[in-house]
């Protein structure tokens, strides 16, 4: 138990250190842009494919149930509420933990093992500012954007499912999908993914940057980055959902 508490404490201190040093110039704008491209742009195909497939599957499942209840017309609305409120943010977070978190953990651990971080320090460059802070910021920027894309890919998947069954027009589908959606339904769950992004960036950077087990540590850092980030996202989501429902009661489905 103490080991886990130590880990949580160390990651917390790591995040605080990153937050403090992120405000001190010089700023690593180029690295932030580059890492945002890696975390965001390069994750986009995965996000779009996953969103489309999830939307399709979810629609197929809910359609039959809704039809039994005589509420088949609600399918677009159920689809949009499910994706905007929970599925989009959570799945985007988990996919980022898998793709980007593993990459950050492995890359930084490899840089540690092959003395690249020492080489940066030997040139009097602050390796923490150069390597860690841009990755955390990039994840925090990229994840909300990816969430928007997975939300709409999910809706598109839902429309494809609907198309097979009812030949519904895209216009009607969108009208029904957005009929019950307000900004309060969309914005808070999307903004919470900034927190998910910080979690993925911070945990995987911590595991990679502090790795000291040579080549063995690279694989371990990658695996642990995915596992711990994913669990942390799911756990913290409970807190976020309760906070959102408390602050924005209208978002309750």
């Amino acid at each position: 138990m103490r080991k886990y508490l130590d880990f949580v404490g160390n990651v917390g201190l790591f995040v605080l250190q990153a937050a403090r040093r992120a405000l001190i110039p010089p700023f690593e704008w180029q690295m932030i842009l580059r890492q945002t491209e890696v975390a965001g742009w390069k994750s986009l195909p995965l996000i779009l494919c996953s969103g489309l497939a999830l939307g399709l599957v979810l629609a197929i499942h809910t359609q039959s149930t809704l039809n039994q209840l005589g509420a088949g017309a609600l399918m677009p609305s159920v689809q949009s509420m499910a994706f905007f409120n929970e599925i989009g943010p959570l799945v985007a977070g988990l996919l980022m933990a898998g793709r980007v978190g593993a990459g950050i953990g492995a890359e930084l651990a490899n840089m540690r093992a092959t003395e690249q971080i020492d080489a940066i320090e030997a040139l009097s460059v602050d390796s923490f500012k150069m390597l860690v802070i841009p990755r955390i910021i990039a994840c925090a920027i990229a994840l909300p954007l990816l969430t928007v894309f997975i939300d709409f890919a999910g809706l598109a998947g839902g429309y494809l499912a609907e198309l097979f069954i009812s030949d519904m027009s895209p216009r009607l589908y969108l009208f029904r999908a957005f009929h019950d959606v307000s900004w309060a339904t969309f914005i808070p769950p999307t903004v919470k993914t900034v927190g998910f992004g910080i979690i993925v960036g911070a945990i995987s950077s911590y595991l990679g940057y502090t790795a000291n087990e040579g080549a063995d540590g690279v694989g371990r850092a990658a695996t642990n980055s995915v596992v711990i980030s994913s669990v942390a996202i799911i756990l913290i989501d409970v807190v976020f959902v309760k906070a959102i429902l408390f602050l924005f009661p209208d978002t309750a489905i």
């Binding site: 840089m111 092959t114 003395e115 690249q116 020492d118 320090e121 030997a122 040139l123 009097s124 460059v125």
Partner: protein
């Protein structure tokens, strides 16, 4: 034989332990300007740690480490930054940045530490340094495309980008075949002759120590057990010193 000129590197009474294990015990060492000192010894006895102490990547538990007469032990980051800009470091693995091309690897120190340098001048210096180590046509290659020997040469070229007057070199020929190792040693001799930096070279190879080093320091159990010219050490009363300096790899 002690260096005649005031030393550019001076370690006095340095102690360092890791996880309760004493790696360096009361170590004292001096390197004169333009001198090449080879640190010889068995694996895992603190040779690489000594290099990292000299450049301030690791702090000693006690003792003083002076570079150009300044004690760097309690120096702040700004002070260390100035000291490090005068030191070139060739890491054992060459430590080229995987995500950057060879050109960008070499340009990195100039872009970071001398940002006022125009791109054209950076390009000129990079090309010259790459040609000096025989990699003039490989500037666009990524580190993963280079052989072990090429990586070491590239690492050496990068360590020379800021015209350092101190060069720290960690096992430059480890893992290389005899021919490639000899080429690397030739390059070190060229640098030694041309730039006259103070060099500390960590090596296991007596042949290399004999070729490149002016003096050899033999490290064992965290302490220096012999310092001097290699022919002097070959007559040492310490059998381990005699064994290490007379061993040909």
């Amino acid at each position: 034989m002690k260096p005649v000129n005031p030393p550019v590197i001076a370690l006095h009474g340095v102690n360092r332990s890791f996880d309760g294990r004493d790696v360096l015990k009361n170590m004292s060492l001096e390197v004169a300007p333009g001198e090449a000192l080879c640190l010889l010894g068995r694996s895992g006895i603190g040779k690489s740690v000594t290099l990292k102490l000299i450049i301030g990547l690791i702090k000693p538990d006690s003792g003083t480490i002076c570079v150009d007469g300044e004690n760097i032990v309690d120096m702040d980051e700004d002070g260390l930054s100035k000291v490090r800009s005068r030191i070139g470091f060739l890491f054992q693995s060459a430590a080229l940045f995987d995500s950057l091309s060879l050109y960008d690897n070499l340009a990195f120190p100039l872009r970071r530490l001398r940002p006022e340098t125009p791109d054209a001048e950076i390009a000129e210096i990079v090309q010259k340094n790459l040609e000096d180590v025989g990699l003039g046509k490989d500037s666009r290659k990524m580190p993963m495309e280079l052989s072990g020997g090429m990586r070491k040469r590239a690492g050496l070229a990068r360590s020379l980008m800021l015209d350092p007057h101190i060069l720290l070199i960690d096992e430059p020929i480890s893992g290389l075949d005899r021919v490639t190792a000899s080429e690397i040693d030739d390059l070190l001799l060229q640098v030694k002759k041309r730039d006259r930096p103070a060099m500390v070279i960590v090596t296991h190879d007596t042949h290399e120590a004999r070729r490149v080093g002016d003096r050899v320091a033999v490290l064992d159990n965290g302490s220096l057990i012999g310092v001097g010219r290699i022919d002097e050490l070959a007559q040492s009363e310490n059998s381990l010193v005699r064994a290490l300096v007379s061993r040909e790899e």
